[in-house]
């Protein structure tokens, strides 16, 4: 039996969504917990965090495709964990919290060029591709690899301030691109 904390199953209301959850998401639960405990030993409640991450993943999935659910799950969880540490104020999230791409990518993902990727993913990729080179690199490391701003700065040998500024510019351009392509919340 899988962990109680995550599965919200409604009898006689089985949807594709919950099947997808059981097939695609749940198998990563154990890894995710272990990884969270290892990287964030002071997190108050891993169960709570995992449940929140699942909820967000389900929300995202109900509205469009996700390139790599496992990676998405790890990125959300990491963001939640850092946020919780920030909020509790007992521990400064530090650069020691790294998201190791190798621990995340466990399966062959279609390369960006592949037609297998859904159109929305392609649109997201194109938005990033159209950014100026430096900006694109910053957004790629932050969003695809899930590095923190500090880690991105280290990777590219630039200042944290530049990373923050580039993220602002990159997000603005992506948001405009989304709007021009009718990709919006409404």
């Amino acid at each position: 039996m899988f962990s109680l904390c995550c599965a919200l199953l409604v009898k006689e209301q089985e949807t594709d969504q919950s099947q997808w959850f059981v097939d695609v998401v749940l198998p990563h639960e154990k890894d995710l917990r272990n990884w969270l405990r290892l990287r964030f030993p002071s997190i108050r409640d891993v169960d709570d965090l995992v449940q929140e991450a699942f909820t967000r993943l389900l929300n995202a999935h109900s509205s469009g495709p996700i390139a790599n659910p496992r990676a998405y799950l790890f990125v959300i969880s990491r963001n939640l964990a850092i946020d919780e540490l920030r909020h509790s104020g007992h521990e400064r999230p530090s650069g020691a919290v790294e998201l190791d791409p190798a621990s995340i990518v466990d399966e062959l993902i279609s390369p960006p060029e592949s037609a297998a990727l859904k159109e929305e993913i392609k649109l997201l990729i194109e938005a990033i591709q159209l950014l100026p080179a430096r900006c694109r690199q910053v957004m790629t490391l932050r969003k695809v690899y899930g590095f923190s701003q500090k880690e991105v700065a280290k990777q590219l040998g630039i200042s944290v301030h530049t990373v923050e500024a580039q993220i602002g510019i990159g997000l603005d351009k992506c948001a405009v691109y989304f709007r021009r392509h009718g990709y919006s919340t409404r």
Partner: protein, 362 residues
């Protein structure tokens, strides 16, 4: 549907600002920035809209997480460098629900944003002011000595540890202390001139208008009004409280007496129900799940339609996480949530299940 065209305007000044704030929030706001941010956000409706939209966009890009292949096990910042191959054409419409998948915020920001970020509840624009501050989670603090404190909503404590004693001032409301054992350094909660002293134990202290209540749920606690804090010439008598007992000290009486009584199990449960518990439900009817939340929280959840009562829920929640519970009901069961009054959230059924709404989103 509109054509995708490059005539659509560039971003507005508010949006450019929203992009900057999103980047800063992603980096982590300083406390000054947090104030500045809230101020900016509440300045103008356009700011809130821009922020909601940009946070949504920021979250959307997370869908690309892990898009690299195992062939790229080396970190490559250029994996998304332009290549002529990709040409997206079709326009996609998104469901509003994706808003809440956006980047997480500190709880205080979440509260400030609930209107703009939480479509189900925000949309209803009620005439009353929903008591969103009561949606906050119960605060837990881990103290330097390993003790743990739950601080009820609207309450506050101050920590003043020294090498001789572990002193905490309860200045407002109530808190529950789980004290780490250390016989050499007593743990003392001072509340309105009353010292509550423990070594290793669990107890709650509550300050109301005219009295201090102490309830012990594990171990023993000494309750002692400090003579100099009361206008009284009679010697002050302290009391040793045992498990399951409650001490009451009336603050406006002339003689600071400690009244001790033994509580029944249900009475203890009632008095400590605000403290977060991990609730596990296994095929439990929604009505009972909602009851459990309502007994634990000032915000009350009601079911708009009796047919919802018998939905069977298998899940687990923290008892103080009403927001998480309601959001899960919205996202997973497709219920809609609206404020019924300032302290009431009404759950009702959507016309269509989520799967259908998804298909229809074009």
């Amino acid at each position: 549907m509109k054509e995708s065209s490059s005539e659509l305007p560039e971003s507005s000044p508010a949006e450019k600002q929203a992009a900057k704030w999103t980047a800063r929030i992603d980096r982590g706001l300083t406390s000054e920035e947090q104030d500045e941010y809230i101020e900016w956000l509440t300045e103008d409706e356009s700011h809130r809209q821009a922020m909601a939209n940009y946070r949504w966009a920021w979250g959307e890009i997370d869908r690309l997480a892990g898009v690299q292949t195992i062939h790229h096990d080396k970190i490559d910042p250029d994996i998304l460098a332009p290549s002529a191959a990709v040409k997206p054409k079709r326009k996609a419409r998104r469901n509003v629900i994706a808003w809440i998948a956006a980047v997480p915020f500190a709880a205080v920001l979440v509260l400030a944003l609930i209107y703009s970020e939480w479509p189900g509840i925000g949309r209803s624009e009620p005439e009353f002011e929903p008591a969103i501050e009561l949606m906050a989670r119960i605060e837990q603090q881990s103290l330097a000595d390993g003790s743990r404190v739950y601080i009820n909503r609207g309450s506050s404590i101050e920590i003043a540890f020294t090498s001789d004693e572990r002193r905490v001032y309860l200045t407002k409301g109530e808190a529950n202390f789980e004290v780490a054992k250390d016989p050499t350094r007593p743990f003392i909660v001072n509340v309105a001139g009353v010292d509550v002293r423990a070594v290793g134990t669990i107890f709650s202290v509550k300050l109301s208008g005219d009295s201090v209540d102490v309830i012990v749920t594990e171990g023993k606690v000494n309750v002692k009004p400090i003579a100099s804090e009361f206008k009284s010439n009679t010697p002050v008598v302290d009391s040793l409280l045992d498990i399951g007992q409650r001490a009451k000290v009336r603050l406006n009486s002339e003689y600071p007496m400690v009244e001790v009584e033994t509580l029944s199990q249900p009475e203890i449960e009632d008095a400590t129900r605000w403290q977060p518990r991990w609730l596990v439900f296994d095929s439990t009817p929604l009505r009972l799940v909602v009851d459990e939340f309502n007994e634990s929280n000032p915000i009350q959840v009601t079911l708009g339609d009796p047919s919802l009562e018998s939905f069977l829920i298998s899940s687990a929640f923290w008892s103080d996480n009403v927001e998480g519970f309601v959001r899960l009901m919205e996202s997973t069961l497709g219920f809609s949530a609206e404020w019924g009054s300032d302290r009431e959230i009404v759950l009702s059924k959507h016309d269509k299940p989520p799967a259908l709404r998804k298909i229809n989103r074009n």
